[in-house]
């Protein structure tokens, strides 16, 4: 197999985020705006990096195994609701509240996984049922009023650049450790690449699936808490109103997959999230209407997918032209 030198791999890995930054800076220059004008811009950027990175990990952990999960938003909402309510009642600080959100979300993920392995219903269907169930739980838990922590300055004070970097770094490190350097991760990769053979060689698929759902849930617990601390409240959603959060993860996931050819896939996902966060920051700095944001994001996703799914044909054409010219 042809091996690429390390420097080339690094340059290729950074190609997309750097290209995105350059294009956005050029547009910003044309508009007379600075992308990173003040502390708020940096905060918005790092919050987006944290949210998108964690959501993309949560989605891709199960999606790589063919398990689509519509319940990510509902897990985030319910765990933030429970943690926020307890923080209000017990008067606990931000870090214990974060720990509760993570624990509750991991438990919710485990329950979801439990229903899946016990019933053997296709995962996408189970996730629809669980999304509805968890949305209903959150609504019933608060009587539809949601949670408000606007008076809790300690929890709102969690929203700092330092905390966003810390949370993202710890999550990425733990995910890399778990999926690349443990037996659980090796089993996970074996099941992803060949389910039948992996099971026949004695890998415990049920345990691995339950673990994946728990980890995915825990990540959404962090996302839920970040949102709770940022806005000081948690709104309720019914009838699949919570699934929107998942759609932000598609583009970084595909970008991460492409970058993953050159470096660790998990780091690739983070770089994909950085690219997405830069785009989110640009939308905010350019005062882009939400409808235009949705259209641009969707077009970027489609264009990137068109490239990914026709890469061979596009590159062959490009190389053929080059060879003809030479």
């Amino acid at each position: 197999m042809k091996k690429r030198p390390l420097l080339k791999k690094l340059l290729l890995s950074l190609l997309i985020p750097c290209a995105v930054l350059l294009v956005l800076e050029a547009i910003a220059l044309g508009k007379g705006v600075r992308l990173f004008a003040n502390a708020d811009s940096w905060k918005l950027f790092f919050r987006a990096v944290a949210n998108v990175t964690l959501t993309t990990f949560a989605l891709s952990i199960n999606l790589d195994s063919g398990r689509f999960d519509f319940s990510l938003g509902a897990v985030s909402m319910l765990s933030a609701t429970v943690a926020g309510t307890l923080a209000q009642q017990w008067g606990i600080g931000p870090w214990p509240t974060l720990a509760i959100a993570v624990a509750v979300a991991a438990l919710l993920g485990l329950i979801h996984g439990g229903v899946y392995v016990l019933t053997r219903i296709p995962p996408i269907i189970v996730s629809l049922g669980m999304a509805l169930f968890y949305e209903g739980c959150a609504f019933a838990f608060t009587g539809g009023k949601g949670v408000s922590l606007v008076t809790r300055t300690d929890i709102i004070g969690f929203s700092t650049i330092g905390n966003y970097i810390l949370v993202t770094a710890v999550a990425v490190a733990l995910i890399v450790l778990l999926f690349d350097f443990t037996r659980f991760g090796a089993n996970y990769r074996a099941l992803v690449s060949g389910q039948k053979i992996a099971v026949e060689t004695g890998i415990h698929e049920v345990g691995n699936a339950l673990g994946c759902y728990a980890v995915s849930g825990a990540l959404m617990g962090v996302v839920g808490f970040i949102s709770l601390a940022n806005t000081g409240s948690q709104q309720m959603a019914l009838n699949f109103g919570s699934i929107g959060i998942m759609f932000t993860a598609f583009l970084p996931m595909f970008i991460g997959g492409w970058i993953g050819r050159y470096i660790n896939k998990r780091v690739g996902i983070m770089l994909g999230a950085v690219s997405m966060a830069l785009i989110s920051l640009a939308f905010a700095r350019f005062d882009t209407a939400s409808s235009v944001q949705s259209i641009v994001s969707a077009l970027l996703l489609v264009l990137f997918l068109i490239y990914l799914n026709n890469e061979f044909a596009i590159l062959s054409k490009f190389r053929g032209k080059k060879e003809a010219e030479s």
């Binding site: 195994s65 063919g66 398990r67 229903v115 899946y116 392995v117 019933t119 053997r120 219903i121 296709p122 995962p123 996408i124 269907i125 189970v126 629809l128 049922g129 669980m130 509805l132 169930f133 949305e135 209903g136 739980c137 959150a138 609504f139 019933a140 838990f141 009587g143 539809g144 389910q195 039948k196 099971v199 698929e205 049920v206 699936a209 019914l238 009838n239 699949f240 699934i243 759609f247 598609f250 939400s290 409808s291 235009v292 944001q293 949705s294 259209i295 994001s297 969707a298 077009l299 996703l301 489609v302 997918l305 068109i306 799914n309 026709n310």
Partner: protein, 319 residues
């Protein structure tokens, strides 16, 4: 092949049995609560008919093993443009044609994009959903009449009756049943859903079928959009927003495998849509709060799917 036992037969009829049980439960709860059952029945039909129309067409897409999450947004855009066309012309016929035409155009773009560029249809429809939802906001903004686009209720009132809606649903089901059961299109779609490699090797044109499926489904979306205006002539950005997910639930509730293939049935969508309608009405009669109602709905949904799966569970976890 040996005779099937009753236990083996139950899964095949689980969805229909589920609907019958729900109808019985509806009348029992109505009698206990002394509720206006006839009025409730009207509400069930009004709620279910749009989902049933969109879901019936979507059966073609799901049979292929594809998945479309943009159906709700497509219905919303078709309805908004239909309403705008009516306000411009005052003609119900134009409104009808615009609803169906816009839906067909969206379906064509969706399927062509996926077919020409080899895109995974699910992600294409995710992107399409974002674009269409944003387009709804833009349309409402263009219209310049606040947050809504309205058609005068008295203009559509003559059409807002159960026989008219049921007739449209019946005609569309008949059309879909004919195409799905009696024409090669249905058989080929089931073949692709069941075994895409084998179907391809047998010479079946997957891309052509994907376009046909999207166009048939689009007609259902257009009809659904038309009836949405008739039932609720004040449209906003949330119009039909939940239909995309309701359709998935209805199809699965109706006993069709979400992976498509030979077990796909046209009637699944109708059975599922009406089951959901009755379930919602029962929750409403029991005065269950929105949260508890949704929890029970989710539990019943999973239970029905679990029973419908029957003995198809393998050693490996389903993916």
């Amino acid at each position: 092949m040996g005779k099937q036992t009753i236990r083996e037969r139950i899964p095949a009829f689980a969805s229909i049995l589920g609907l019958l049980v729900l109808i019985a439960a509806y009348y029992i709860v109505g009698a206990i609560r002394d509720a206006n059952v006839a009025y409730g029945l009207k509400a069930v039909v009004n709620q279910s008919v749009v989902v049933a129309l969109v879901a019936t067409g979507a059966v073609f897409i799901y049979t292929l093993g594809s998945f479309d999450i943009s159906l709700g947004a497509a219905t919303g855009v078709s309805a908004l443009l239909g309403a705008m066309a009516y306000n411009a012309t005052g003609s119900l016929a134009v409104m009808f044609l615009v609803c169906v035409g816009v839906a067909v155009a969206i379906g064509f773009i969706n399927s062509s994009l996926a077919s020409v560029f080899n895109l995974p249809i699910f992600v294409t429809t995710v992107a399409m959903m974002s674009v269409l939802s944003a387009f709804m906001l833009i349309l409402i903004g263009w219209n310049g009449a606040g947050d809504t686009i309205k058609v005068k209720a008295r203009d559509v009132r003559p059409l807002d009756n159960i026989p008219f809606k049921v007739a449209i649903l019946a005609a569309y089901i008949a059309l879909c049943w004919f195409v799905f059961t009696l024409l090669p299109t249905g058989r080929e779609a089931k073949f692709i859903g069941g075994n895409p490699v084998c179907a391809r090797l047998s010479g079946i044109n997957e891309k052509k079928l994907a376009v046909i499926a999207s166009l048939i489904s689009a007609v259902g979306i257009g009809l659904g959009a038309f009836l949405t205006i008739v039932y609720a002539p004040t449209l906003n950005k949330d119009t039909a927003s939940s239909i995309g997910m309701d359709v998935i639930i209805a199809i699965v509730f109706g006993g069709m495998p979400v992976s498509g293939g030979p077990r796909s049935r046209i009637l699944s969508a109708v059975v599922g849509a009406f089951s959901m309608g009755f379930l919602s009405q029962i929750m409403s009669m029991l005065n269950l709060g929105s949260g508890y109602g949704q929890m029970i709905k989710a539990a019943i949904f999973l239970l029905v799917v679990f029973i419908a799966l029957g003995s198809q569970r393998g050693k490996l976890l389903t993916r």
